[in-house]
Symmetry: C2
Subunit: 279 residues, 2 copies
Amino acid sequence: MRRQVVLFGDSITEQSFRQGGWGAALANAYSRKADVVLRGYGGYNTKWALFLLHHIFPPDSARPPIATTIFFGANDAALSGRTSERQHVPIEDYKQNLRKIVLHLKECSPTMQIVLITPPPVCEEGRHAYAKYSKSFFVTANVYKNNLALSHYVDWIDQTALYCRVMYLSLYGENAMKFPERTNEVTGQYASACVETAKEIGVFSVDLWSKMQETDGWQKKFLSDGLHLTPDGNAIVYQEVIKIFNEAGLSADNMPLDFPHHSEIDAKNPEGAFQQKCF
Amino acid sequence: MRRQVVLFGDSITEQSFRQGGWGAALANAYSRKADVVLRGYGGYNTKWALFLLHHIFPPDSARPPIATTIFFGANDAALSGRTSERQHVPIEDYKQNLRKIVLHLKECSPTMQIVLITPPPVCEEGRHAYAKYSKSFFVTANVYKNNLALSHYVDWIDQTALYCRVMYLSLYGENAMKFPERTNEVTGQYASACVETAKEIGVFSVDLWSKMQETDGWQKKFLSDGLHLTPDGNAIVYQEVIKIFNEAGLSADNMPLDFPHHSEIDAKNPEGAFQQKCF
């Protein structure tokens, strides 16, 4: 059975197999070496993630993952008293929850390589534009949905994205546009808390919040709606995670292929290659 | 444990998690519902695939895949007496090998949905241009490789692609350019054989060879080097496979989420949602 690398996180993980996604790029890099397994839960914070922990990482697994990325915080950092309040987790609880997740994984496997990833920076202007766009979209969709099946109307767009937008507007309505539900400053505090926690418990971390802001124009270059990632933003996550996997002794280049490379197979005696090399 | 969809095939499967890849698109569509597992083996034909069958699909598995795509033929159809001769498999053997693969999978699980995919069409001109490019690339790489680490020099290109090109040229040298190693006509015969076999044994098939040629300019629109797929070519495979999965009762839209959607979680009583819905 192939070893696994699990990507555990919120929507930024859930969307990581879309066009240009960092999860798909990892799956490609570890092809024939390890399976990259998607466990992304849009909208989740660390508090809700704890409910999934024992299901996704059963303590008695005979083959626990060789590595796991833990990528939460974008929702924990939603502001109290604003439209996304229900996702808010106080910063001390966020740290405590990350610790619980890591300790559980270490119990599953003391050799598992664990990487905490901080939330990306937030572009408040981008979030506002997204809320406005969602509103106009919602109105248009409402006009149409009595006339024809919504699924036909939205053939040309990502249905999941539509669902999120409709949910968002129906939950928050007009208020969604008035006050930002996340700020870059507060998300930065969660990012620091994530990096500190990783240091305290001795696991790797990617400070994505800081890394992205090193590049001019990060707001549009890396973020599609002020929060989620563009293909360029995905590339940053991929590069940072693969760098850490390489440091941690999990370089794909150094892992053996599962079966012979085709050039090693003698067409007249194929059995030979397969007898020698079947992992 | 999450159900699995396995993608079993040659390089066109192995590369299916690259930018715009059909495998990644499937993984995204089945996110939170099934794991899409990559089992692609560049350069392999159906004869060599048989050696992997019992390793990848152990007959005694308690949780066999719910669906498998079988995507071989591009290498089987390599011409006898040309540079890729070692990959050639006679057409009757190709059919017989496909049958063996399907019968093995049916033994693993009689309810598994199986989709045979034909090789894509071949653009001989594209293959020739690729061989020429490979030659000039090989010469350049040789000049540089004594001066600096190859891995630094090729930072800007896909190292796997380089490896294949170097292998290709070192194996076949000058001859690679003289005669086509594959023709569209012969590959079309393998495609027909694949579709026939699927009908005979009662499994689904995608006639990719015919489907792609319905579009004007398929040679460059769908093929990057006369054989492998562009993002547009990948999109065709994705659309055709998802259409069959939908017909076969495996529509992602109709499969339940593994855990509650975040909007179903009551922030004051999150336990409630998780008690009700944990698959």
